[in-house]
Amino acid sequence: MDFNNVSGFKRRVLIVDDEMINREILGNILGNTYDVFFAENGQEALDVMHGAEKAFSLVLLDLLMPVMDGFEFITKMQQVSEFKHIPVIVMTSEREAEVKSIKLGASDFITKPYHMPEVILARCERIIQLYEDNAIIGLTEKDAVTGLYHRDYFFEYIRQIETHRKSPVDVLAFNIDHFHLVNEMYGRQTGNEVLKLVADKLNEILDDNILIACRTEADTFYVYCDHIDDYSPFISRIKDEFENGTGPAKIRLRAGIYLNADPEIDIEIRFDRAKTACDKIRQDHMTSVAYYSKDLHLRSIYHERLIKDIDEAISNEDFKVYFQPKYDITDVHPKLRSAEALIRWEHPELGMISPGEFIPLFESNGLIQKIDNYVWNKAANKIKEWKDKFGYSVNVSVNVSRIDIFDPVLQDKLKKIIDSNGLDESELMLEITESAYADNAGSLNEVTEKLRASGFKIEMDDFGSGYSSLNMITTIPIDVLKLDMSFIMNMEKDEKSLKLVEIILDIAKFLGVPVVAEGVETKAQLDMLKCMGCQVIQGYYFSKPVPAEEFEKFIIKEIS
């Protein structure tokens, strides 16, 4: 289909230039494709537009003209509702004029002397198409809430600016911490006020350096700035404004900055990098700005590699499930009680990858579900294998991540694994980390109730590590409490940790919930815990996590 000749009519293009020679050259280039109209200055152009029966698809505009110049024309045109969505391509040989016209709302530039005709024609076609496509899907180039550009226009404009502007730039990404909470707590209208305020303040504070800005993904702001060496004065002003200011809601704005961004790299990737820096400090409440660096870049490339390799690693079984025994110490002779399944990644090229590296990464993007599924299956297979081989049942705990809790088919998945291995639900124990409770106690309560009703045992992992509330263990139905290993590490030298362990053990005893102490390394720790009434111990004192074959020696010892 000939894009420019849909349903038999030619689109109309208005060329505004005071020089006859320029008008004629452009008219000759565009005349075969479009219905071309001419005006010698801004005023005449407005008259032509008002007088026309059909709308124009594009205006090609010279800037320096008598009577009414290009800048005034754009400003006037923006004020007329039926004209303001018509794209304008500015024709100029002035570098500085480009930024000014983009700010006013121009869509592209044609430099003088003109490029070859094919280039000019292609540019015109592309701009018209961009605007028409967006008109079809109901988008305008500006975001109604903040007045900033929409993402697509923003990137498109930067690409145009960069075709002829070569000065160094910085790309900045800003994100509002927990913005969804602002919406939830104060309502959407306040949320919108906050977004508008952020846009206004960024514009005000970055003022002279800002070239163009957009809002994306609800609460992220992208800003394209002339390069400056030091953003710290701006950042501290932004911090003052939002963290101590009198706005509709107190918010924390994080910034990720890619200084002197490499112009050879696609603009969207440059902003991805600024965003990566910005995301890196999501959890760090003391830091409000992060700079994109080579280290960070290498790290993000490494992470991308891990993400890319996960499926292959699962099918090649590069993930190894290790088992760490848990011993019941209530008797004089410790008795093998159960085991915890832990994952290791033996990458064929990158070597052994620490779970500390890939688990937080996969938790953050949801891929952890694949890992969890894998471990559940492998652990269940082993329980069955050991039962068949030794006639001995070792209960194995597996991790259930936060995201699994919200999986509507979680129970079916687990049930299927239990059934296909001929196990009892109680043999595959489910560890849910404490922070999941803080996130959404309501649904967690519901899910754990259901799982327990069908026979699964629930262990609360890492208790005491984060947002614990003692109240929580009285309200959430659990079968085992796992004491965070930081208590064990500190209890010998820190009276407070010791006291806390004592209190937790007392409450657990009162509730009739057994406690597992993790990270026990020494006889002294074991004795202290035993003395305080702790029943189960896991840690290097007994064994580090070991491969399944090696774990068998604990079973053999137990049954002999």
Binding site: E19, I21, N22, E24, I25, I29, L64, K112, P113, Y114
Partner: protein, 113 residues
């Protein structure tokens, strides 16, 4: 009569100039034929004479656009030079540059005879 060969001899990059006219030789020659009569040349002279460097800059700037599009290289280069001086409001003796521009303008006019 103006011809492509004469323009080549003059130093114009006729390949580029014709390219911008999509190879339409008649159009190109017609447009080049109007250049020597551009009022902006006279304005440039008079504004500099009056000391109105901003006004002179605007005329030079307009000429620069036109000459560049037609690729009349020798004249274009001189006009670029004076445009930059005027942009910076340089306080200098413009007479040599102006007379060179005038000579090139007349040279162009002669080509058409």
């Amino acid at each position: 009569m103006l011809t492509i060969d004469k323009l080549k001899e003059y130093g114009a990059n006729t390949e580029d100039g014709l390219g911008r006219c999509i190879g339409n030789e008649a159009l190109y020659l017609r447009l080049v034929g109007t250049v020597a009569d551009q009022k902006d040349f006279d304005n440039l002279n008079s504004k500099i004479g009056e000391g109105d460097l901003q006004g002179a800059f605007e005329s030079a700037h307009a000429l620069k656009g036109v000459l560049g599009n037609l690729s009349l290289t020798p004249l274009y280069e001189k006009i670029c030079e004076i445009t930059e001086l005027l942009r910076a409001k340089t306080d200098t003796d413009y007479s040599v540059l102006l007379s060179e521009i005038q000579d090139l303008r007349e040279g162009l006019r002669k080509l058409a005879e």
